[in-house]
């Protein structure tokens, strides 16, 4: 029973989504199914919040290594939740000054805005900026001209790296921009490589992926692949 009900739900909803693509009259059914997923995912958020609290409270009570971090997690989680949920420090909307909680929680100067502007934004930007460092170390370690294909890849990488900066323009600006060899200017060449060679390779991978998705979807709809439910019968 624990397996059969989810399998039926999967099969029926999957079929509805396929049918709604071909029969215009049933289009709203597909939209309905998508909306339901959104609702369930939102409700499941409570499950996630519960898990977060449980794991970190356990760490704190057991005094596990790094329990101090768990304190920070729980503290910031609770504070942000309270500030956002109860609209703490938010002035009412000027259009509805008598209606409590009518103000914009993200409006400039509110505590929620402050958390976003001075905590969330710099932290997120920092994490993303770390990519530059990791790309450099990965390039140093992994980019080896081991064989002919790798050498081609290396050459392409140099063209793109130079073509996306002023160096590309500086090195090949002597090639006339309206002449027959203008395509050899590094900035033009880098765009050409991305538009032609890269697109061709990407399309091949994408077609393979699309067929993989179609095959896997069919297996799931037919109940042949139950691994996502924990497998077995």
């Amino acid at each position: 029973m624990k397996r059969i009900v989810p399998l039926w739900i999967t099969a029926i909803v999957g079929l509805v989504l396929i049918v709604s693509n071909f029969l215009p009259g049933t289009r709203s059914w597909g939209e309905e199914a998508t909306t339901w997923f959104g609702i369930i995912a939102a409700v499941a958020f409570v499950l996630g919040g519960g898990s977060l609290l449980k794991v970190h409270l356990k760490k704190i009570s057991d005094r596990n290594t790094g329990w101090g971090y768990s304190m920070i997690v729980l503290g910031t989680f609770t504070a942000t939740l309270a500030v956002g949920l109860f609209k703490i420090g938010v002035s009412p909307n000027p259009g509805y000054p008598d209606v409590p909680w009518s103000g914009d929680v993200q409006g400039q100067g509110t505590p929620f805005w402050w958390v976003y502007e001075y905590v969330f934004k710099p932290l997120t930007a920092t994490m993303f900026a770390m990519l530059a460092f990791y790309i450099a170390s990965a390039a140093f370690r992994a980019f080896r001209a081991k064989n002919f294909e790798a050498m081609l890849l290396l050459g392409t990488a140099f063209i793109i790296l130079l073509g996306r900066t002023f160096a590309g323009y500086f090195l090949t600006s002597w090639i006339p921009i309206d002449g027959p060899f203008s395509g050899l200017r590094l900035e033009e060449l880098s765009v050409y490589i991305m538009q032609v060679f890269n697109t061709a390779g990407n399309r091949a991978i994408i077609i393979g992926i699309a067929l993989g998705i179609a095959g896997t979807s069919l297996k799931i709809l037919m109940g042949l692949d139950r691994s996502y439910l924990g497998g077995g019968d």
Binding site: S51, L211, S227, L229
Partner: protein, 468 residues
Amino acid sequence: MKRSSSLLQTRSILAMLAVMVMISSSFAAPPAPTDVVAEDLPADGGGAAIVTWTIPTGVEGLEGFQVWRTEVVSETTARVANERGTALLAIQNQAYQNEYQRLVGVEGVAPEDASMQARAVARQAVIDQQGSVTPTETGPHGRFWVLVDTVSAETSRLQIGKLSPSDEYQFMVYTVAKTADGGVAKSEASAETGMVLPAASGIDVKRLPLFFILLLLCGSVLFFIRWARSGRPITIRKIAGLAAVDEAVGRATEMGRPILYIPGIQDMDDLQTVAGITVLGRVAKTAAEYDARIEVPTSRSLVMSAARETVHSSYLAAGRTDAYNPDLIYYVTDEQFGYTAYASGLIVREKPAACFYMGCFFAESLILAETGNSVGAIQIAGTAMPSQLPFFVAACDYTLIGEEFFAASAYLSGEPDQLGSLKGQDMGKVIVGAVLIIGCLIATVAVATGSESLMHAVDWFKGSVLSA
């Protein structure tokens, strides 16, 4: 006196000229099209109608036809609101000007005070007169019309799209012809058509080619599943990344360090996450057999639930339910970089011996894989995100590229049904390859030879299969 008589003469000449122009232009007006009929486009997804008409005969300099449709309710509301807004604004401005001038000029009120008082009067004028403001102008047949398209002189049929499937429409057509003096003359409006509701039909014919492709692909998968069930052998090439699962888990056991499994950062509605959970089942089973600790932080609540269920089943299958700890599969945050920060920190602190990245990844792929590499973990990745594949290839020991990742389930289970579906998928690839080659050939030959029939074939292909 002489001056006024010459003025009179000029005026009369101008009047005569004007009358002649009017007469000539009224004579030049071409006849309107007749038999204008509109009907809903059959077998479509809604929102389209066909208008047909009879081309009037003997029209000199016929340029083409203009097709117009009636406004829908929302358009009328918007237009009325707009016209009403403009009219009310004019009333307000007029009232303000009058009152301001009276106050300043007649009563000698100071300009600042006059401005304030005039604004109050203007507001009151708007309130008093708003009931009397109604749009008056209408088009032919007492309706408002929207130009749909202008078509050539030979056309007597127009398919109109982008209509609202829930609104009724009427259509009319004008004849447009060139006059002798090089100008353009428009006929009277034709009779309006009956009401047409461009509703959705039972089936959308435009999508039928896509349906046949779907049938073909599914058919080949089902055929090979039956083929495999009948006992015929199906072989699958070795996928290094999946073959290395045992090695990675074994290494973690030997070193006494945990295994980190990251099923991507998307929810269960992404098939990559589903494929990631499938591989997790196998990794967890091996970990249970080897008695290794596996930790699964997730960035979505539903993924956490699915992962717990899968890992539990794996421990059950390995006969080690006692070792299953649901607290090792937990939710972190939906936020992409919050999750990445947590996972990177976990890798640095716990120094897992093996890291698996199986699912949908974005910019965090390289951050995670490089951090894993820095602690010397054996790393296996799998994703169908083409933009992240290069990062995983550079930083991981093994990478399942796109379709290999989706083949994992069949590869790991070895069941005939699953292997058969994989073979069917390969047939799909053959079909796609063949269609690609044929399509490229036809398009190339069409361009090279200028053959109209081949051009039509290419256009049909583009308009039906590729745009469905």
